[in-house]
Point group: C2
Chain length 317, copies 2
Amino acid sequence: MIRRPDVPTLVARAREGDPRSVARLISLVENGDPALPEVAAALAPYAGHAQIVGLTGSPGVGKSTTTNELVRALRAEGRRVGVLAVDPSSPFTGGAILGDRVRMQEHTVDRGVYIRSMSSRGQLGGLSAAAPQAVRVLEGAGCEVILVETVGVGQAEVEIASLADTTLVLLAPGMGDAIQAVKAGVLEIADIFVINKADRPGADATYRDIQGMLALGEREAGDWRPPVVRATAVRGEGIDDVVAAIGRHRAWLESTDNLTRRRQRRASVEVEAIALSTLRSRIGDLREGTALSTLAASVAAGELDPYAAAEELIKGL
Amino acid sequence: MIRRPDVPTLVARAREGDPRSVARLISLVENGDPALPEVAAALAPYAGHAQIVGLTGSPGVGKSTTTNELVRALRAEGRRVGVLAVDPSSPFTGGAILGDRVRMQEHTVDRGVYIRSMSSRGQLGGLSAAAPQAVRVLEGAGCEVILVETVGVGQAEVEIASLADTTLVLLAPGMGDAIQAVKAGVLEIADIFVINKADRPGADATYRDIQGMLALGEREAGDWRPPVVRATAVRGEGIDDVVAAIGRHRAWLESTDNLTRRRQRRASVEVEAIALSTLRSRIGDLREGTALSTLAASVAAGELDPYAAAEELIKGL
């Protein structure tokens, strides 16, 4: 017997801050559970309250350490924090460095923090489709800030980062990251640059590289100019500056119509992805039925062309 | 001004054997032209008459030489032949060995042969979506046998080969191909194995490997057991045996209900792919419209959940 999730109870408990219910709901998202529409409907009223902060960068720039320190700083302000790690190299998703894992565990006994790694198991469309739903769960659980950590390498990761209100791009000296960031399309999504490991040689050169690239970008009056913040996350240095920059970006978003515009654009992408995935699975279901077989037989016999048959199929959905 | 293709005239001329009209129609397929449904409708009555022979194998096994010799043998029988090369390493698609190219050009002045390479430029779904339509064009142009040549490496290539009635898998001695064929999933699609370069050392070992693998397969009475044919295409040796094996497979397909079943299954896959691609582009069109924007605004405001919005979007298609 398959146990159907009791969605109303799970959502009610998640609202009260029960970590197990939050975890269960995110598992439903991750596995593409048939109950997802019900989960989404139950969570809809709580959408839009959290500040979503994306954090991306190449492997080795210190993303998990920075995430860890940001959690600490935000908790010190008394804010409820969610962490969604969709980074295959992250300690949260398995490619662990023991030290980092232990430090993150310090937060896991804190009821004001939810930490969750995600993989793309069942969900059609992979993590790009699942991540927004997981963010909705964390929002529903009352998180005020949600950190979404991804590796800034592929297009999918850029998409995941772009579901944030504010996206941090992490760089480290001497990794040729400034150039890589341009190549990976990460530059376009950066609201704040963080040069981590700023105590290392080459930090000044990386700083100048980024400032140089930013100077080339065209901006109009009132546009946001991404600040470049130096930090040494492993010693907790510069983290307050990062938090301050996030706050300034948030204020800018709210003072203009950009917060609304970003969120509407994201909702549009999300709805489109769900619609496509729904249609794909409905067409897949037809494989078992007679409608597709009948149409295919007509096409094979030359009585119907495949485009006309596809049109018939679509009408029947 | 965009020149809209005059589909009825193109199809009528292709029917009469005009090579330029055939070429133009395949270009429409390759570019995913909006006129494709019209092309498909005009060609539907001529579907199902040609024998479609897939030819696949790793780079270096001699696919283009074998194709070339098969064309020669089939032309000697007076049959009209189409060649569709979707193999990036093929001389037809650009990765040319001059000698082979010259030999193929011998056929290009023969009006009973159409040779066409394909790349996946405009078509959503790539070559897997475009190849069946290109086959329809060649069928419409009166080809009695259509050779579809692909590299048997990736899943897409296997899919393309599987649009054939009869699929030849080419192997060569000493390439570890028997093992590779299993890995690449090519074994499942093989109706005939051809060990090319059979004059080379190791041909007997490859022959035994394949026979050994076939002996392991479970077959019921009346099932087709793939023959293993030896050839040295570069000297034209064994090509008659390959042609004979193709004929025997064809006779088996016709004497059972397998020809009908294969073609219906393929039509089903084709219709499904077109339906999905149509829906994807219709949803894409909505990006410009107001329906998706309105829904997205409701989702962003928390008034509607994204699944309900996606359902609305689907209703509006």
